[in-house]
């Protein structure tokens, strides 16, 4: 569903650049901070993750809270499921997508902060070790969410294993980790149920149908507006129009859709040369319009009717006729018959 939303943003390609700038900016700020930072704070951070003598019992309630936070972090998955059951209107989707993006951003930031902490440790010059008794919030937090036995009491949980000198402790599973595991399992099960048991959310094939139907509807609307404004244009009524607006619009369409086969100057490539006076299927405005509209499937020219509106087909046909006689260098040899305009 991401794609629906992203496609609608103007100049969407600027966004990754902005986010990268923010990302880099964040790094540079932290680096500056790192150099300028108060020595006391460094000392505080020094033994990260620090030891604690906080009693083990307190860890539980905190852990529950953390579990709740993670639950919230992962809720969008549920959200997708719920949205699926009620409706798939775009705003709900956008909301959830945004939440998902924000969560991922937060996760990335957390990882970045953590990485910087590690790098900071590695970066600092060794100094006389100062014993730190006071704990920062992070160390307390870290100790608690991991529900771990303080280093002083480590002896109590040292197992009698000894493998080539490697000993093992019998710490609890970090509660937040266990919670994360359970939550992901629940999400996985719910996901499978929503999509394959209750079949209440669209799978890729159906999503595609929805996407195409929406695009078709948008196009029909566009066409209706157009024919209301300029009246009906087809191969019998179409007229060459060399007004600037028409040619400009025609050129835009030509560059985007036609140039890959007929070359950007009309000199021809895979498709025939459009700049000479020779035409395979006739060179009147009506003829050109007809070729654009219906195509010549056996020769690889596709029908543009499903893709271009009548006005657009008129514009691009007019632009093509405006190319006649420009005679660009290295044009393809003329094909077809010489066309001479009648009295019209």
């Amino acid at each position: 569903m991401f794609k629906y939303y992203l496609e609608q943003i103007q100049n969407v390609s600027i966004w990754p650049i902005i986010s990268l700038t923010i990302f880099f900016g964040f790094f540079i700020l932290l680096l500056l901070w790192l150099i300028k930072v108060d020595k006391k704070y460094i000392n505080k951070m020094k033994n990260l993750p620090l030891d604690t003598d906080t009693p083990n019992s307190q860890g539980r309630s905190k852990a529950a809270k953390i579990g709740a936070v993670f639950l919230m972090l992962l809720v969008p998955q549920w959200g997708f499921a719920q949205a699926a059951e009620s409706s798939w209107d775009q705003e709900t989707v956008i909301l959830w997508v945004l939440i998902l993006v924000i969560i991922i951003a937060i996760l990335v930031l957390m990882v970045a902060i953590y990485t910087l902490n590690v790098l900071q440790l590695a970066l600092r010059k060794p100094e006389e070790s100062v014993s730190v008794k006071k704990q920062g919030w992070w160390q307390k937090f870290w100790e608690k969410i991991n529900d771990r036995v303080p280093q002083e009491k480590e002896r109590d949980i040292l197992l009698d294993h000894n493998y080539d000198g490697i000993r093992e402790l019998d710490n609890h599973l970090p509660p937040w980790w266990t919670a994360l595991f359970y939550i992901t399992i629940v999400i996985g099960v719910i996901y499978m149920f929503v999509y394959h048991v209750f079949e209440s959310a669209p799978l890729p094939g159906e999503l595609y149908e929805i996407e195409v139907a929406e695009a078709d509807a948008a196009r029909a609307e566009l066409l209706a507006l157009e024919s209301e404004a300029v009246g009906n244009i087809d191969e019998s009524t179409v007229e060459f129009d060399n007004s600037e607006a028409v040619l400009q619009n025609g050129q835009q369409i030509y560059d985007m859709q036609c140039a890959s086969c007929h070359r950007d100057d009309g000199g021809g490539g895979i498709g025939p040369n459009l700049t000479d006076a020779y035409w395979i299927h006739g060179g009147s405005m009506q003829d050109v319009f007809k070729i654009v509209k219906y195509g010549v499937p056996q020769k690889g020219m596709i029908s543009w009717e499903p893709l271009l509106s009548p006005v657009q087909m008129r514009d691009v046909s007019s632009y093509i006729l405006s190319l006649v006689g420009t005679d660009p260098p290295n044009g393809k040899t003329p094909q077809g018959e010489l066309y001479q305009a009648d009295a019209e």
Binding site: K3, V12, L20, L100, Y163, R167, H172, T178, Y191, P204
Partner: protein, 719 residues
């Protein structure tokens, strides 16, 4: 209870370490070459053997099997002897393993540039080498299990569990994914076709990452990290839970490489759901490693070994979170087929595997040579340039991936693609490709500095080939007690069997229905087997590694059906594709609907010099396709093998195949000459380019109902 004297075999570790460093440098150098080719196509050197398509598999194979593989064996041979208090089971087997593995690597380094490939990612090697790998892997397994059986330590440490899982799973993966029928000594066709081949391949490919790059290195982490930090492992319980959950869940996640493809929806969903469940088990390993460092963080800033390991474990945590996120369908829709994935695997490869290997070598080499590291300063320099290298590598590629993907998907207000020309989205990201190459270059410089440092370390020390040790023999009486898992740890055979069961479940549940239930691959009546000429063309496509840059899978997105002008790809279209060629990266456009899109001459010019038809293209030219002629003597054998695989060529068709092939080639050559009359080009009907054009023009056309000339007469009854 007798105290026994014995010795550890260090010589084998030394040899594997040397091989690690050599092949590491080679693999990285090839990687750097590839990175440069992407913005400077001249680096393809106009030689068949050095084009991107052929050396990409060389790079991946060299890094995975030669660099990481040898590092794994070095680390396993060193740690296993010490953890089990015994010498390896058999020195002879150790040496067969070592030389056998190096021969396989050399064989790969020769055959891949020559174009002998099955085209299945990380399993490109042809069938004789596949057999050799199986043999050597079994030798390694016997040596390992033998060592475990004659151990002097009652229980197996967690590192050993991971080694066992590695051996068992890689054996299963390799054997199943290598089911193929030989055509001749260096050519074979996969037993599976299309969707099924894709499922098996990515079950393999994904779990090669899991059980060749992850589990053995987790085992190594569990040995080298507590050793280097001199701290007890944080939690035994966590080891147990994360080991079993990791190996059980990992196996299921393969289909996340095939989201939005023609793979049945239920399999895709399973792949995504299990990928999300994989977050916690993966992080279990990271947590157990990082928390082990408690009280040792002071030393992290002084000791390069720990520094490397901390970044390695962090990179592991980052990429194993990123992986499941990328498996979420809506994110996958953006990231798949782009450079985002390349960045992702390199955070894992450069960060986790590379840095853990470096840390291990910096720790192990001084130990075995009985000395201290030659230069701490150089090691620190290596650490920093390596870390910066990873950042310079990954960040631009993330940017490139997202940029390109959004460009592919962008529509104008009128409902047209904003960038209908694929090339535009490529030229846009070339600056990012350049930055990436700089990052890779920095990483390589770091590895060179390490090589020098390690050589100097070895030169100042005294190598101890056989390190004396002593330990009590195990008493020959039954032991009771301990938790259920502790009991399991002293029963290696039962442990191995349980591991096997755990890793088989996921694969079986996903594969068996895809193979047996017909509705998973709905048949399409108009889909016909390839003509002999197209088959030859397809083999050229495989040989040149086109699949490395071009996908053949139009996904169900409006922007793709618009861009590639046709329906999205259906499962039934691939039933005769042995092997499947869906690809995993779109450096160039998708080709599944390229058939009949351009005249023959377009392809002729394009393959001769891509810039003739697409100015600014980064695709290398293929002039040799115009000089080489196809080997007509193989076509009968190919048809026969295909029929064995279930492709409905009639009995006896192999005798007519050559005539059909020549007729179709002549026809294409005539059309080509007609189209290019202006340039007065003479086309040799037997040349490889003609066969390739035949194949390209056939791609994805069956579903449009256009009959293919040659086969209609001969094969309609074959159904």
């Amino acid at each position: 209870m007798a105290l026994e004297q014995f010795s550890y075999d260090n010589k084998i570790v030394k040899y594997f370490s040397v091989a690690t460093v050599i092949f590491g440098l080679v693999g990285m150098l090839v990687g750097l070459t590839l990175a440069i080719q992407l913005f400077y196509p001249l680096f393809n050197f106009d030689l068949p053997y050095t084009t991107f398509g052929r050396i990409r598999p060389l790079h991946t194979n060299a890094i995975i099997f030669a660099f990481v593989g040898n590092a794994m064996f070095a680390g396993v041979y060193y740690s296993m002897q010490r953890l089990l208090k015994t010498r390896m089971f058999s020195d002879l087997l150790s040496w067969i393993h070592f030389w056998g593995w190096q021969l396989i690597i050399v064989a790969a380094a020769i055959t891949l540039p020559l174009g002998y490939t099955t085209s299945k990612e990380y399993a490109e090697l042809e069938w004789p080498i596949d057999l050799a790998i199986t043999l050597i892997w079994v030798v390694f397994g016997i040596n390992m299990i033998g060592t475990i059986l004659k151990r002097r330590e009652r229980h197996m440490y967690v590192a050993i569990w991971f080694y066992i899982a590695t051996f068992v799973t890689v054996a299963v993966l390799h054997v199943v994914n290598s089911f193929e029928i030989p055509v001749n000594i260096l050519k074979s066709y996969s037993m599976f076709a299309g969707v099924q081949d894709a499922l098996v391949q990515w079950w393999y490919g994904h779990n090669a990452v899991a059980f060749f790059l992850t589990t053995p290195f987790l085992g190594l982490m569990y040995y080298y990290m507590p050793k280097a930090a001199n701290r007890p492992v944080y939690s035994y319980k966590l080891s147990i839970i994360h080991f079993w959950s990791l190996i059980f869940i990992y196996i299921w996640a393969g289909p996340h490489h095939l989201l939005y493809t023609a793979l049945p929806d239920w399999a895709q969903s399973l792949g995504m759901a299990f990928s999300i469940m994989l977050i916690a088990p993966s992080w279990g390993g990271m947590l157990n490693g990082l928390l082990t460092l408690r009280g040792a963080w002071d030393r992290v800033r002084e000791d390069p070994v720990l520094k490397f390991m901390v970044v390695a474990v962090t990179a592991y945590g980052m990429s194993t979170l990123e992986g499941p996120l990328l498996s979420i369908k809506s994110i996958n829709a953006i990231a798949h087929f782009t450079d985002w994935i390349i960045a992702h695997v390199h955070v894992g490869g450069l960060g986790w595997n590379g840095f853990l290997t470096f840390g291990m070598l910096y720790w192990m080499i001084p130990k075995m040579w009985n000395t201290k590291i030659y230069s701490l300063k150089l090691a620190n320099f290596h650490f920093w340039i390596g870390t910066l290298g990873i950042i310079f590598y990954a960040l631009p590629l993330y940017w490139a991936g997202v940029t390109q993907s959004l460009m592919w998907k962008e529509f104008t207000a009128d409902g047209f693609l904003q960038y209908p020309n694929f090339l535009e989205t490529v030229t846009q990201i070339i600056p990012m490709y350049m930055t990436r190459a700089i990052g890779g270059g920095m990483y390589l410089i770091g590895a060179l500095v390490m090589t020098y440092n390690l050589i100097m370390t070895a030169r100042r020390g005294q190598f101890m080939a056989n390190e004396p040790a002593e330990a009590y023999a195990l008493e020959n009486k039954p032991v009771t007690g301990g938790s259920w898992h502790h009991v399991l740890e002293r029963k290696p055979v039962l442990f191995t069997v349980l591991t096997l069961v755990a890793i088989l479940i996921g694969g079986v549940i996903e594969m068996v229905p895809t193979f047996l239930i017909k509705s998973n691959v709905p048949t399409i009546a108009s889909v016909q087997p390839y003509t002999p000429l197209e088959l030859e063309g397809r083999d050229i496509y495989i040989r040149e590694g086109c699949v490395g840059c071009h996908t053949q899978m139009v996904r169900p997105f409006r922007n793709e059906t618009e861009r590639y002008q046709g329906e999205y790809s259906k499962a039934g279209e691939f039933v005769y594709d042995h092997p499947f060629l869906w690809g995993s990266k779109r450096t160039g456009p998708d080709l599944h609907r390229v058939g009949n899109k351009y005249p023959h001459s377009w392809h002729y010019y394009h393959m001769y010099d891509p810039n003739l038809t697409s100015a600014g293209s980064i695709m290398p030219p293929y002039p040799w396709l115009f000089q080489n002629t196809i080997d007509e003597s193989q076509i009968a054998a190919k048809i026969r093998v295909m029929r064995q695989l279930g492709v409905p060529y009639e009995q006896g068709y192999e005798d007519e195949a050559l005539d059909d092939l020549r007729a179709q080639a002549q026809e294409i050559a005539n059309t080509l000459e007609q189209e290019m009359a202006q340039d007065e080009i003479k086309v040799v009907p037997e040349s490889e380019i003609v066969a390739l054009i035949a194949y390209l023009q056939r791609l994805g056309t069956d579903i449009k109902g256009t009959p293919t000339a040659a086969l209609n007469s001969t094969n309609q009854k074959g159904e």
